[in-house]
């Protein structure tokens, strides 16, 4: 491999070096927790800088970093930053695990070779199981075991699909397959990606895992890990033209959106509600991927896939950070919250409006782009079902806002104080998730020669 092709992996190299330094510093027992945190955060920051300097390129057969991969990698890195900053750990292991998980995501972004994709998938997932098991909730261990077995099943599906694809094409590259053994292998591998995304009916592990994890960790899963799985699905779907997988994807997306929205309606625990809402949002990402693949990887559709993941990073990441910062877990605690904590209530309201897709927030721009691309790809019925799901989701997003602002405080309402750490980060995420929605508008105003 030439130095130029190795440069494609320089963000991963920075992360790996960071992980080793963090481990060594932790083992020396002379480093404070703050110093460990600073080391891990600076490794991710270095990876971000290196990513900005890295061009696109490829080194057959293992590496291929395209624009979509680079954009997604920035999402992964940004998703990990708040987790690394807020994580409460006694030793260096969780920070090293997060960095290891990021390396795996980077390998998924930088490769289109099945072996590399599988190694990336495993490197991303195994630290995630361990991170769940170290959460503070009493159900953490049970959730970790559940996550581990579901993830193991996904890995087995991916391996089986890999073997079938290899049997059909004689190579481990991601090769187009419309029917026969190759297409079956592609579908199995896509099923593994859908498992990780949490698409219905492969979602059953997701609410338990998100509920038992610490909120900041659940935020990382719902933004970073989910985005990596979406990218994996995109890599596989891009070569599936004409196969049963390409036909099934928009329907899977519609089913996921509807089920997630319907199941979130009755949840009383906020982490679980956000988990089901993240299932619903995953459906929109799958719809975007399907539209992207159906239009022959059109750059505009690729933008829709990326923009949804980026917007979701701030909306969902912000909502989980808010849960952590406000120290609120149950829905009843939100009743009349706006009286005691007006600023925190406004923050959550902005995030919920963005998640619901109310203009002018990022959620609206993201949903609009996805619907537009799905329309261009001709997914009319799945589009209508997705619209129904989005409508249904207003029931709980706006319901939470109503409870905060228009209900009288009840006996369970959270008191005016007791704010945890990370309120500033949550506020920043809330602001970005509103401002990001104005970007397309501003961009159209700034276009030279454009008329208002």
């Amino acid at each position: 491999m030439s130095p130029a092709s190795l440069a494609l992996l320089s963000p991963q190299a920075a992360l790996a070096a960071g992980a080793l330094v963090v481990l060594a510093a932790g083992a020396s027992r002379r480093c404070s927790r703050g110093a460990l945190r600073a080391l891990a955060v600076s490794a991710v920051a270095a990876a971000l800088v290196l990513l900005a300097c890295t061009g696109t390129g490829q080194s057959p057969p293992l590496l291929r970093l395209d624009l979509l991969g680079r954009c997604f990698e920035s999402v992964f890195l940004l998703a990990a930053l708040p987790l690394l900053i807020l994580m409460e750990a006694d030793d260096e292991v969780p920070a090293a695990l997060v960095l290891g998980s990021l390396i795996g995501m980077g390998l998924i972004a930088a490769s289109s070779h099945l072996l590399m994709l599988f190694i990336g998938l495993e490197l991303m997932s195994v630290p995630a199981y361990l991170l769940v098991s170290r959460s503070r909730s009493p159900q953490a261990l049970e959730a970790a075991v559940k996550y581990f077995f579901a993830g193991g099943l996904a890995s087995a599906l991916f391996l089986m699909g890999m073997a079938m694809s290899y049997a059909a094409s004689g190579s481990l590259a991601v090769v187009p397959a419309a029917k026969g053994l190759g297409a079956a292998g592609l579908s199995l591998m896509a099923a593994a990606a859908l498992f990780k995304i949490g698409a219905v009916p492969l979602h059953f592990w997701l609410p338990d895992v998100y509920e038992a994890s610490d909120p900041e960790l659940a935020g990382f899963f719902s933004t970073g890990v989910k985005a990596a799985a979406v990218l994996l699905l995109a890599r596989l779907a891009s070569v599936s033209a004409g196969s049963a997988l390409a036909a099934a994807l928009p329907w899977a997306a519609a089913l996921t959106i509807l089920f997630g929205a319907a199941a979130a309606l009755r949840q009383q625990r906020l982490a679980r509600l956000l988990a089901y809402s993240s299932i619903s949002h995953a459906g929109f990402m799958i719809l975007a991927v399907a539209a992207w693949a159906a239009q022959g990887r059109a750059p505009a559709a690729g933008l829709a896939v990326f923009f949804y993941s980026a917007a979701y990073l701030f909306m969902s990441g912000g909502a989980f950070l808010w849960l952590k910062a406000a120290g609120v877990t149950r829905r009843a605690q939100l009743k009349g919250l706006a009286r005691g904590r007006p600023w925190q209530a406004a923050m959550l309201a902005a995030l919920l409006l963005a998640l619901a897709g109310i203009p002018p927030t990022a959620g609206f721009a993201a949903k609009f782009l996805v619907f537009w691309e799905a329309f261009k790809a001709g997914f009319y019925v799945p589009m209508v079902l997705a619209g129904l799901g989005a409508l249904l989701s207003l029931g709980y997003y706006l319901g939470l806002i109503r409870e905060m602002y228009f209900d009288e405080p009840g006996p369970e309402t959270a008191g005016p104080a007791a704010a945890g750490r990370g309120l500033g980060l949550a506020a920043a995420f809330a602001v970005v998730s509103v401002v990001l929605g104005l970007l397309p508008l501003l961009a159209s105003l700034w276009q030279p020669g454009a008329r208002p």
Binding site: M1, L20, L23, A24, A27
Partner: protein
């Protein structure tokens, strides 16, 4: 046609598995349930403990560490056999690889993963 072949195959597998797992009961002599014949091991001695004794969790830590380094050594063997025909790049790669292994071994040592307590 293919689906039919698959179904026939499935049926054949089911029949074979059901037959083999029950062949002793179907074809063999009537089993005797006397003395120690139903005990797991018929050595003539009463079993002293449960057949599956509990194993210390420490054992698994050693086992996992051993397997990790064992598998990594399996990567070194083909390199060593081909070292004559490889260039400086592969030497650098294997050096980095070995250095990583040494680092992790040192890390486990330092964290006390190699002690028996």
């Amino acid at each position: 046609m293919n689906a039919l072949a698959l179904l026939l195959n499935l049926a054949a597998v089911l029949v074979l598995v059901l037959f083999l797992s029950n062949a002793g009961r179907l074809l063999g002599p009537e089993p005797r349930h006397e003395g120690d014949s139903d005990l797991p091991y018929e050595t003539g001695l009463r079993p002293l403990a449960e057949a599956g004794p509990g194993m210390s969790a420490l054992y698994w830590r050693f086992a996992v560490l051993f397997v990790v380094f064992d598998v990594d050594l399996a990567f070194l063997l083909p390199w060593a056999l081909e070292r004559g025909s490889l260039d400086a790049g592969s030497l650098a790669a294997v050096t980095v690889f070995t250095a990583l292994l040494a680092f992790m071994l040192g890390y486990f040592w330092r964290k006390g993963a190699l002690s028996c307590r």
